[in-house]
């Protein structure tokens, strides 16, 4: 794999993605949602900051997820469907470099989108900070411009990197629609991986519990990367669990990209 070629493909993906109106529209939608949360917070006496932080982080997560799934599943499948891949693969570019470049380009797009949403989010929190009376601020468990929010946002970014890898993996061998559904299924299951581990507590069937435990080991553990609750409520972040979660997700991404490369390397483009 050629790192320079990966970078060139990634830059092209990024350039193409930022010109696409879909991510822009989604980011604008996210900012509107965050603004709406600001209005909603006015209706919840004493809970206003928590509502804004909760809704803001959830919005970033959801919009990032939509971008990762919509663009990620089309990254390779659309190129194959539209046959733009023919010209690219006839260039001095190996198939692994192409796949990894595509992935890196979309991750770059997501990082930029997430950064834009983060700026909008902090701008709103700053406004909240400036327009709130001091006696109300004393009741806040965490400051408005809490830097720990960046940890939660960073971990959302890690989750999105995984989602992108899942979407890319599926898109190397299936249609965009099927890839979308499969990626969404993996993401939803990943959110509940903690529940899968303790499934025997909820059901009597040992077989069902065994299957759930098996799925827990196979599916990515996105649950471990969700620290929104801790950040919003000013609780301590379980750093060791988070570190372990990030390491396992990084390994998971590596496995998915290797799988995508293996499948893509053997594929015929009729």
């Amino acid at each position: 794999m050629n790192v320079a070629a990966v970078r060139k493909v990634a830059v092209a993906v990024f350039r193409e993605s930022v010109r696409d109106r879909v991510p822009y529209s989604l980011v604008i939608f996210a900012v509107i949602l965050m603004a709406a949360s600001f209005l909603m917070s006015r209706l919840t006496a004493g809970q206003d900051l928590k509502v804004i932080k909760d809704l803001g982080l959830a919005t970033m997560n959801a919009i990032g997820l939509l971008i990762a799934i919509f663009i990620g599943t089309g990254l390779v499948a659309k190129e194959v469907e539209r046959r733009s891949i023919y010209a690219v693969l006839s260039k001095p570019l190996s198939r692994p470099s192409f796949i990894v470049g595509k992935y890196a380009g979309l991750v770059l797009t997501l990082v930029v989108n997430l950064a834009m949403m983060t700026l909008a989010f902090y701008a709103m929190l700053q406004y909240m900070h400036l327009t709130t009376d001091d006696w109300i601020k004393q009741g806040w468990r965490a400051p408005a411009l809490d830097p720990r929010l960046l940890v939660a946002i960073g971990l959302i970014g890690v989750q999105l990197m995984l989602t992108t890898a899942v979407a890319l993996f599926f898109s190397t061998f299936s249609t965009p629609m099927l890839s979308m559904l499969l990626t969404l299924a993996v993401w939803v299951a990943g959110q509940f991986s903690g529940d899968l581990r303790n499934f025997q507590a909820a059901v009597d069937s040992p077989a069902a519990a065994a299957i759930a435990r098996g799925l827990y080991y196979v599916l990515p553990n996105l649950d471990a990367l969700d620290v929104k609750n801790e950040v919003v409520h000013g609780l301590s972040i379980p750093w060791s669990a988070v570190g372990l979660g990030v390491a396992s997700i990084a390994a998971y991404i590596g496995v998915l990209l290797s799988g995508a490369v293996l499948i893509f390397n053997r594929r015929d483009f009729k």
């Binding site: 092209a12 006839s90 260039k91 015929d268």
Partner: protein
């Protein structure tokens, strides 16, 4: 060193959903293309032309057989620095401009950054893309996309270029431009391999051709050997033919066919059209045109494709 060589290149596709069975799209293709040739790879639609080109570009993998370009295996990524490829009905990225697309592709060839802008500009000029080069590709007509496709295929000044149906989607002016471009590439020493089912283009451009039908090589060789120089007869178009003139023509011609407005198309034998022309003039008729009839590429093509169909039916 040969520009292109294939040996026993065969491709099977699996068809059918429940019980997939192999369908042979290309049978045992063995051919060579010498450096500097303009090679026409001709065949009817669905004959296997694009399958063969995709195998050469390693967009698909062969079931059996081998292929080499410039002496290197087709899977060699470094070899691709020296080739260009225009796919059939090309498609690119909607949100990039022609300039950006070509800059991206030039970067994949490691064209130095300082040279890239000039190279892109020169190539776009060469294919006739003007100020539109700064517009996004989604707004381009089919003919303009085809021109961009040709531009990206020559952005690296290739030694061998593969064009799959290069005239597709082009108007008559565009086709003339592309014909001239192919000849310029040949003059620079570039080997041109192009697939087409438009025989007049092949006849005007190629030094060698191969005909493929039903996935098999059905014929080929040097165009000069195929088309030939022997005159098989003459086609005379006559005007103002009087009854006496018509008698003259009928006495000497193999066939006389009336056209519109008192004109006749006359099929004369190979020897002595001059005597017929004089006799016609003496009887008050006029000669509109007189052209020699030779073996054409079309004759060769039709004959070999028909033979291939017969062979296939017999199997």
């Amino acid at each position: 060193m040969l520009a292109i060589e294939t040996e026993g290149l065969t491709k099977d596709y699996l068809v059918g959903f429940w019980r997939p069975r192999p369908y042979r799209a290309l049978h045992d293709l063995t051919l060579t293309v010498e450096r500097g040739d303009v090679f026409g790879f001709l065949g009817p639609n669905g004959a296997g032309k694009s399958t063969a080109i995709k195998l050469l570009m390693q967009l698909i993998y062969p079931t059996s057989g081998t292929a080499r370009i410039l002496g290197r295996p087709v899977g060699d990524v470094e070899m691709r620095r020296r080739i260009g490829f225009l796919p059939e009905n090309p498609s690119f990225y909607d949100y990039l401009t022609a300039e950006e697309l070509l800059t991206y592709f030039a970067s994949l060839f490691d064209v130095p950054a300082a040279e890239r802008a000039a190279r892109v500009s020169r190539v776009l000029d060469e294919v006739g893309i003007g100020a539109e080069r700064r517009m996004r590709l989604r707004s381009y007509s089919k003919g303009m996309v085809q021109r961009v496709g040709i531009a990206q295929a020559i952005i690296n000044d290739p030694d061998v270029v593969f064009f799959d149906e290069p005239m597709s989607g082009l108007d008559p002016l565009g086709r003339r431009d592309v014909r001239q471009l192919l000849l310029r590439l040949r003059d620079r020493g570039c080997t041109v391999f192009f697939s087409s089912h438009i025989l007049s283009d092949a006849e005007a451009l190629c030094s060698r051709v191969a005909i493929i039908a039903q996935g098999r090589l059905a014929g080929g060789g040097r165009l000069s050997d195929i088309v030939g120089v022997d005159v098989l007869g003459w086609e005379l178009i006559a005007d103002g033919v009087t009854p006496a003139g018509l008698d003259v023509l009928r006495a000497r011609a193999r066939q006389v066919t009336p056209l519109h407005d008192g004109r006749y198309s006359v099929d004369l034998p190979p020897d002595g059209p001059e005597a017929t022309v004089h006799a016609l003039s003496a009887a008050g008729g006029r000669v509109v045109s007189l052209n020699p009839v030779r073996h054409t590429l079309e004759d060769y093509f039709v004959q070999h494709v028909a033979q291939a169909a017969t062979r296939e039916a017999a199997l």
